[in-house]
């Protein structure tokens, strides 16, 4: 079994990034974290995560953003808000997870082969272009870009859904999609 080194040099920490994160909406309070672990205990998915939500907060507080942005945790978050409801310090952990997800995509450091980051991007692209999301094409694109073998596994149930009329290959387009794009652009700039 290979022995790996886990020593962390202080130069790897980026306090400025932590400061930047603190200014993001919903992220103001993470500095007050007690490290009590209530978030991890309350999270229904923490048992699948590489870092528990508490450890993600510890990482971002100390400025180890590379670990925080490249971990699976933020992509496993199902946005159920159980952590935020129970946090004794009122930290909006779900909002923090969203910010980390966006930052991970922007820096292109999200884990490869994980379908959720691909899904997030494809969903956004599709909605931005047409104003509607078409599940057939969304699933197809997600699978092609993350795990093409999934298509083989899903083929049977996909075919059944198609025949039952529960899945459609048709795409829809809203009128004046350019106005929607203007709104998206404004939201991006506001960031």
């Amino acid at each position: 079994m290979a022995v790996t080194r886990t020593l962390r040099y202080q130069r790897e920490a980026d306090p400025e990034w932590t400061e930047w994160l603190r200014r993001q909406p919903g992220c103001e309070a993470f500095w007050e974290c007690l490290q009590c672990g209530t978030c991890s205990g309350a999270c229904p998915l923490s048992i699948y995560m590489d870092f528990t939500p508490r450890r993600v907060i510890a990482l971002v507080r100390e400025g180890f953003y590379r670990d925080a942005l490249s971990c699976q945790t933020i992509w496993l978050c199902a946005s159920c808000y159980a952590c935020a409801v129970h946090c004794p310090r009122g930290i909006r952990i779900t909002d923090l997870m969203y910010t980390l997800k966006r930052e991970a995509i922007r820096r292109k450091v999200h884990p490869k082969g994980l379908p959720t980051p691909v899904l997030a991007q494809e969903f956004y692209r599709m909605v931005q272009r047409r104003g509607r999301n078409s599940e057939f094409w969304l699933v197809l694109r997600m699978a092609l870009k993350s795990d093409p073998w999934a298509l083989v596994r899903l083929a049977r149930s996909g075919w059944r859904l198609l025949r039952a009329g529960r899945l459609s290959m048709r795409t829809e387009q809203i009128r004046q999609a350019d106005q929607l794009r203007t709104m998206f652009a404004a939201a991006r700039e506001g960031r």
Partner: protein, 673 residues
């Protein structure tokens, strides 16, 4: 009062002193420039800046200048008058000047500590000094009034704090009235089995003190009593105490308890308050075996005679000739005069129903720590046996720390005692049942004599310490090993792993919070509360048992969460403060009181109802009625001065001329640019 002209008094000679306060002021405010500006102001004879005005040489500067320049007004620009007004008034008095001819300007808290910009801070300091110089011109010599201190003391609350304070005062020969709301004194401490970290028996160390209170010739003990009205002022409080009927006369009862035995209810069937409902009592009962006074009490809410009037009254029969049972008793009002008051009303524990994730009130085997205190107590509902509600002995117990504490949604403070009492309960549970005990903590706080050693002992005893706040308690088994158990879901933060731990019994280490009716007592005694609702001490470090109401002191958990040693120390301190006041015999009162210009007053009574200190009355009934203010009661709040429709109430040190001159001084700076 002399007639005041509108023009500037001619013979005014002002000295202005600007303090550097080391770098506290001088680093932000250009003190030289402030002094220089002062030199140019009308009436100013001398203006200086000095490193520390509060130091001896600084005060000497004022004394010397009063002599050399014949100064008759002083302005000191330094820190808050809360800190050094007294100092500079003394300095002026030592120089032969009336101390009320001194005025302070706060250029530290109001200027240098809050403004980063040097130029603008200096400008503000200059404006404040200009305003103060204009104001001080109108100051007049004032005399302090003296009020005598009545030597008797009222202690409110008969827990360990009240008991200790009362005994200390009584042993010093003072007369003490001890008022307790419950049927017995003893408070929360009487409910505990052992005390941390020495594990000495709470009853063994408390009950001798309780008996001493009962037996002490200088202590008048009133149980089932509440303070309902407070009037007066430091040294001369008049307090009205309502004594709710016990229905058993303390002066006749011998404590034989035959009445309880004879009650028509053969079995106890009403929840016992002292055991937190874990056992039952009869309508006539003794709260606990060592209760003081050792006199039963009848609860009219459950007694048949009070509910229907058709009881055989077997209790009265059993008492026989002694005739101690008095079912006709009515509330009695006592009026006492005391010089000082000690508030020792204690705390209440956090109600864990507010955190449904912990299942209190849902799962029967989730207990509060106070309930477990009763369970482990030999005089408790199970005689000291630790058994669950279904009679089983727990084989595994989880103790959750910080319930309701350190939590923004509930109580943000640390309750200080929970870590230690959780360790104590862990030890007692393990000792008596051999159960596996898990402590779930966020941070282990054991700062006290012998506390850390006790923690060490628990570690050695093999108690589990899991660093993590439990997210939830449920009876939902995911694994056969969890069937029939309560499962705690928690992140073991030191492992970084989420764990599920099945236990038979969950103990919630509930925090301490202010009593829900502390606000009413606060109003009665006109003390202040901090934002969280605990009584506020006058200064957190230097006046920890005094309050903003003079002559009223605080002790114990009504001031903030604390353990028994700290409570007793604080109760001793409160007693010492009260003794100091009594032994002085009298105190001087600030002359910043309001007064009425009788000729202008139309006796409209607006001020009478507004005065928060009931200091105003209408006098001169038949001739020319007008309001009059008792200077001993007046606190100088200024409410009546502002409210008087005819402007016929004025206030020393806040005369119209002084305030208008001060405002003009500030506006002159604004207008002049």
């Amino acid at each position: 009062m002399s007639e005041r002209g509108q023009k500037l008094p001619s013979d005014v000679r002002v000295g202005v002193y600007v303090c550097h306060c080391g770098v506290n002021i001088a680093a932000v405010v250009d003190v030289r420039q402030v002094a220089q500006l002062a030199r140019g102001l009308p009436g100013v004879v001398v203006a200086r800046d000095y490193n520390y005005m509060c130091s001896d040489p600084g005060q000497e500067l004022i004394r010397q200048d009063i002599r050399d320049y014949a100064l008759n007004r002083i302005v000191v620009a330094s820190c808050s008058p809360h800190l050094h007004e007294e100092t500079f008034r003394h300095a002026a008095a030592a120089g032969g000047l009336n101390p009320y001819l001194v005025h302070m300007v706060n250029i530290r808290e109001h200027v240098s500590w809050v403004h980063p910009d040097r130029e603008r801070a200096t400008e503000k300091a200059c404006e404040l000094v200009r305003a103060a110089v204009r104001r001080v011109v109108w100051h007049e010599p004032l005399e302090q009034a003296r009020v005598s201190i009545h030597p008797d003391v009222l202690v409110v609350g008969g827990g360990i704090a009240g008991i200790h304070a009362a005994l200390t005062l009584a042993n010093a020969g003072k007369r003490v009235y001890l008022v307790e709301r419950q049927p017995s004194i003893g408070g929360h401490m009487a409910m505990f089995d052992k005390t941390f970290p020495t594990l000495d028996c709470a009853a063994c160390i408390l009950t001798p003190k309780m008996s001493a209170v009962q037996a002490h010739p200088n202590i008048t003990l009133w149980t089932l009593a509440e303070v309902t009205r407070v009037e007066g002022y430091v040294g001369n409080y008049e307090v009205e105490i309502t004594r709710w009927p016990r229905y058993v006369r303390e002066d006749l009862c011998s404590g034989c308890l035959k009445c309880i035995e004879a009650c028509v209810y053969k079995d106890a069937r009403f929840p016992d308050e002292f055991n937190l409902g874990l056992s039952k009592r009869k309508p006539i009962y003794l709260p606990f075996p060592q209760a003081v006074p050792q006199v039963p009490v009848i609860d009219p809410a459950t007694c048949i005679q009070f509910k229907s009037g058709k009881c055989k009254k077997t209790c009265v029969e059993a008492c026989g000739e002694r005739g101690a049972i008095d079912l006709q008793a009515v509330p009695k009002v006592e009026r006492v005069r005391v010089g000082s008051v000690i508030l020792a009303t204690g705390f209440q524990t956090f109600d864990p129903r507010r955190m449904p994730e912990y299942g209190y009130g849902i799962y029967p085997n989730v207990y509060t720590s106070l309930e477990v205190e009763r369970l482990v107590n030999a005089s408790g509902p199970t005689g000291g046996e630790i058994v669950l509600r279904d009679g089983r002995r727990p084989q595994s117990v989880g103790i959750i720390h910080c319930v309701g504490s350190r939590d923004r949604r509930h109580n943000p403070w640390c309750s200080r005692v929970c870590c230690m009492y959780s360790l104590k309960l862990a030890h007692l549970i393990r000792e008596r049942t051999g159960a596996e005990v898990f402590n779930f903590y966020i941070d282990m706080r054991t700062p006290g004599k012998g506390f850390e050693e006790f923690y060490q002992r628990l570690l050695e005893e093999g108690v589990h310490f899991i660093r993590g706040r439990v997210a939830g308690v449920s009876d939902w088994a995911l694994d056969p090993s969890e069937e029939g158990k309560l499962v705690l879901r928690v992140e073991d933060t030191l492992l970084g792993i989420v764990r599920r731990i099945p236990v038979d019994m969950v103990v919630l280490a509930v925090g301490l919070e202010p009593r829900s009716d502390a606000e009413e007592l606060r109003r009665l005694f006109r003390v202040s509360c901090s934002a969280e609702g605990f009584f506020l001490e006058r200064h957190p470090k230097l006046a920890p048992v005094s309050t903003f109401a003079e002559g009223v002191f605080v002790a114990g958990c009504c001031q903030g969460p604390k353990d028994i040693p700290d409570t007793v120390a604080q109760a001793g301190a409160a007693a010492a403060e009260a003794l100091a006041l009594i032994d002085r015999g009298s105190i001087e009162q600030e002359p910043n009181t309001a007064y009425v210009l009788a000729d202008h007053c139309s006796a409209c009574r607006t001020c009478v109802s507004l005065c928060p200190y009931s200091a105003i009355s209408i006098v001169g009934g038949d001739g020319r009625p007008h309001a009059e203010i008792n200077p001993a009661l007046c606190k100088g709040c200024g409410t009546c001065v502002a409210a008087c429709p005819s402007g016929s109430i004025r206030q020393h040190l806040f005369e119209d001329e002084q305030i208008v001159a001060e405002i003009e001084g500030i506006l002159a700076g604004v207008a002049g640019g």
